[in-house]
Symmetry: C2
Subunit: 152 residues, 2 copies
Amino acid sequence: MPELPSVKETALAWESLFRCQVTIMRRLQQLPEFKELSMREYDVLFNLRRAPQCGLRLGDLNESLLLSQPSLSRMIDRLVARGLVVRQQDPSDHRAILITLTGAGAEVQRRIGRAHVRHINEVLGGALDAEQLEQLRALTTALSQSVAEEQG
Amino acid sequence: MPELPSVKETALAWESLFRCQVTIMRRLQQLPEFKELSMREYDVLFNLRRAPQCGLRLGDLNESLLLSQPSLSRMIDRLVARGLVVRQQDPSDHRAILITLTGAGAEVQRRIGRAHVRHINEVLGGALDAEQLEQLRALTTALSQSVAEEQG
DNA sequence: CACTCTTATATGCAAATGCATATAAATGGG
DNA sequence: CCCATTTATATGCATTTGCATATAAGAGTG
């Protein structure tokens, strides 16, 4: 049984991760493309793109976002109004709603996504080398999974 | 001159860091103490606690937060109304406002902070060991600093 | 010192968000 | 099968947020 990290060790790591995210997010949000679609809205399209063809339940989609369920419901209203996503009743559970990208929505996601990843590369590429980025990816992936599992 | 990381490598690292932050934040926000004070508001008090005694300019404080300048200005209004912070004119620059914690504000920050770090330890402590947490801290600290410097 | 330009914060107003709760459908017990 | 309970999403309403812009003060130029 390994020793658990101290309160101080975990707090320092989280504090640093959080600040890092804030710093980078502030930069990434300045991309002109995010005037057309907010980063939160883009993130919804991005998540739908990685989803099965049948779409994602609103609740499942919600788990990937820092947004309350009612707020997401209304964001979906707006995305539907813009023709970027579609709401469909889940045939196997009529309480649920499946959300899917439209063709236009997928295209907007791809277009903004290309500019976004280029920008990410500009911002992060000069800061860490490939090996460090891979370490960071591995650590944060392990952390996400472990945290999600330990009470999901 | 070292090779720069590929677009894919940077995008994967950022995506993972971002999702990790979302996952953890959703858990941390559930702490009952954050019904009294939102996490954003707590973060303002936390930043002020680490600041010089004279306080922080609104604009400087704003750089540490994912919040527009007008939104922060109004959040400060509310924190002033609750007696947690004070606005003072900067004697050396009458355009600027120095924001400082009141005694009550400092006490609220300490109280919520104690519960918060315990919660952080519960959530992250089981996921990574001390060495991994230190690696994560080092990488994210280096990344923040490098990103902030490269165009600050 | 007048004038323009920049910097720091605040304010009007529309839009987005969250909380509490409503609606609607599935689930389980008697 | 009926009723209570749980689950999934939506809606009313107050609060918070952001965008555009106003206000106010320092800086620079002639």
